[in-house]
Amino acid sequence: MSVSRRSFVKKVGIGSAAAAMMAYDGPRSVARAWSLSLPEEERPLFLQYNENPFGPGPRALDAMETGITAGSHPTARYGLSSTALVDAITATQGVPQANIIIGNGSTQILRTATHVFTSPAKHLVTGAPSYGECSAYAKLIGTPVEFVPVSASMRLDLDAMADAAKGAGLVFVDNPNNPTAALHDADAMGAFIDRVMTESEAMILIDEAYHDYVMDPAYRSEITRAVRNKRILVARTFSKAHGMAGIRIGYGVAHTDTLASMNEWHYDSSLNVAALAGAAASLLDTEHTATEQARNTEVRRFTVDWFKSRGIQGTDTQTNFLFVHTGVPAADFRSGCAEHAVMVGRDFSPFHDAWARISLGTMEEMQRAIEVFEQVLELKKVAVA
């Protein structure tokens, strides 16, 4: 174990460190806030929330500065314009301005869609395990939820989800899927969409949060289909590759009829001037996004290859996290890593008995993390088939 990790553990005592860090309560970890007071080389590695280890790129930062100072006190103004951001989305994604809705993170897009398109009589269909925002809100408002287990390949079971779409209000498709990290290619998505369109009246919400990290050439975003198709909504976020999770900005693309329905409910005063400026600039800084994609790809390949070299299989990840078959309960793996100041993902039922989700940090962080994984899992190199 590196000196810095050892000194951290010695400083706080293994027991208290582990106890503090194991008190998982989502991204609201008290331990994380506390750790910011430590010198950087002594901080634990946070590999459990799929966060981008870097913030926004320099052009986005510049735009955020301008956003809070340009003109006359923009931070004090109502009626902020999202024109710059909408135009940037149009320019980079090739969808018209009228087909764009902006949200306080894609969280707000998912919520609005769940509210508008589901009800006690029109259920929600979602994968299991999958990203839980829609199902959590559905529960709050009394919408029944049909959870469809992922298939043996750890992909969303699109056939079963299409079956479940009969009578549904909304089908939530996380592509790539969180937490299983794998995606469905264009053909599979196309076939699924056709089935749902023909056999049901459900809306399809496709969450492409990890879109920028996908390298699989068979993947295709459904964003242009969403413009023409009254029953498809695509959600995107600035929380991952663009490094803006904390300033809260995301968007959706859909047919204008769909947006008209959503806009009746959508709380449109949640957007702040820094996020509007930064997101627009970040989208236009395609060079930076490409660099970030390449960086993540390199770290991902490194970490995946390492697990393979130790005989551990994982899903074909197209995101900034891994879903690996450690063979031990996630809780044990988590507590073992925590004792070495490495924080990995929570339980993802029903796979918490043998699978772990590990977010990707920087290359340096992953080089340190694998030392811990090796120790915790008592791994040895195996011949790679």
Binding site: L61, A84, Q108
Partner: protein, 388 residues
């Protein structure tokens, strides 16, 4: 922007879209106000840059939040990827500060993306097709729009002839209601009910309809100068089914960063919080709010500045023969005896923007926000012309 800061962020400007070639951060003369704070008089007479319209339609703070707040925002920029639960200051820090300032605990405080989010969540949390909402007319209508979408019946009680909420009638109408929306001070009339009337109202509602939730919207609380006014917050903390909403958008000048909060009985706050958007509060807004909340000197200067400009503007209208309700906010509601739309259009031609229509009083009354003294001197010259 100082040289060192530009060096830190780099001199990049976005290439490509011309729209994105945003304005250079010119240090407008108003921003010099922050350097002049020790001398309030000088601060109040900073000249309006030529060519800019005067915005008196949204009840904004004309001087913004101040450079300290902006510095706090800047410090947060590199940490933009961190959720506000994990930043420093964090959501929790802001919540704790708000609680402590009100002799309460964090469980009594709920943050929102603007108090508007809390207004919406309250309607969703406490009303239904069988539990109506009571409000006033004219008053702030954001809650009403949400209620209408949800199919909640809305009973809007007319103000009395003094432009004040008719609390007696609102209490009567609260029987069986899910929610009573009480905007105190009231928007758009700028009137305020004093402590006794509020306490009596609460007592009446709790007698008539103890399950009804009372929402006091105190967005303009800090601007109140009526010595008989008391915030309902202390009542709300310890009385079931009451909460108060406040905002960082007005006196603190942070409308563009979207931070509001609710304070009230812990059970009511908990129920309201169940409907809040996850991760609703952005981290730069938290940083700015935390900074401004810990700058009470600035806030007091703003209240005094607003009071003077408000007095000047009210005096202008009264001398010109127009009735104005005594204002306890950063706007006034004037009886111009003709439709607001006409005056609004005429003012716009002179670069002054005043408030929207407020039915059912839009045929005779207009709402005008209070800007800087300089702005109000310019604006009243235009008003005189337009109303001649």
């Amino acid at each position: 922007m100082s040289l060192s800061r530009r060096a830190l962020f780099g001199a990049h400007t976005a290439d490509g879209s011309e729209r994105l070639r945003t304005l250079i951060a010119a240090r407008r003369r108003e921003s010099l106000v922050d350097e002049l704070w020790p001398n309030l008089d000088e601060a109040a007479t900073v000249a309006q840059p030529a060519g800019g319209e005067i915005r008196l339609m949204f009840n904004e703070n004309p001087l913004g939040p101040g450079e300290r707040a902006l510095d706090a925002v800047r410090e947060m920029f590199p940490g933009a990827s961190r959720y506000s639960e994990n930043t420093s200051p964090s959501m929790g820090d802001l919540q704790a500060a708000l609680a402590a300032a009100n002799d309460a605990r964090p469980e009594h405080v709920l943050l929102g993306a603007g108090s508007g989010e809390l207004l919406k969540d309250a309607v969703q949390a406490f009303t239904s097709k069988s539990k109506h909402m009571v409000t006033a007319t004219p008053t702030y209508t954001a809650s009403t729009r949400v209620a209408e979408y949800l199919g909640t019946e809305v009973r809007a009680i007319p103000l009395d002839s003094d432009g004040k909420l008719n609390l007696v009638a609102m209490a009567e109408a609260s029987r069986g209601a899910g929610l009573v929306f009480v905007c105190n001070p009231n928007n758009p009339t700028a009137t305020v009910h004093q402590a006794e009337a509020i306490a009596e109202f609460v007592g009446r509602v709790q007698q008539i309809s103890p399950e009804t939730v009372i929402h006091f919207d105190e967005a303009y609380h800090e601007y109140v100068t009526d010595p008989g006014y008391r915030s309902a917050l202390s009542l709300a903390l310890w009385t079931p089914n009451i909460f108060v909403s406040r905002t960082f958008s007005k006196v603190y000048g942070l409308a563009g960063l979207r931070i509001g909060y609710g304070v009230g009985h812990k059970d009511t706050i908990a129920q309201l919080g169940r409907y809040g958007l996850p991760d609703n509060v952005n981290n730069v807004g938290v940083a700015a709010a935390y900074a401004t909340f810990h700058d009470p000197v600035r806030m007091r200067r703003e209240i005094r500045r607003n009071g003077e400009a408000r007095r000047f503007t009210i005096d202008f209208f009264r001398k010109a023969g127009h009735e104005v309700f005594e204002s306890n906010t950063n706007f006034i509601f004037v009886n111009i005896g003709r439709p607001a739309a006409g005056m609004r259009a005429a003012c716009q031609e002179h670069g002054i923007r005043i408030g929207r229509d407020f039915p059912p009083m839009e045929k005779t009354h207009v709402r005008i926000s209070i800007g800087t003294m300089e702005q109000m001197q310019q604006a009243t010259a235009v008003f005189a012309k337009v109303l001649a």
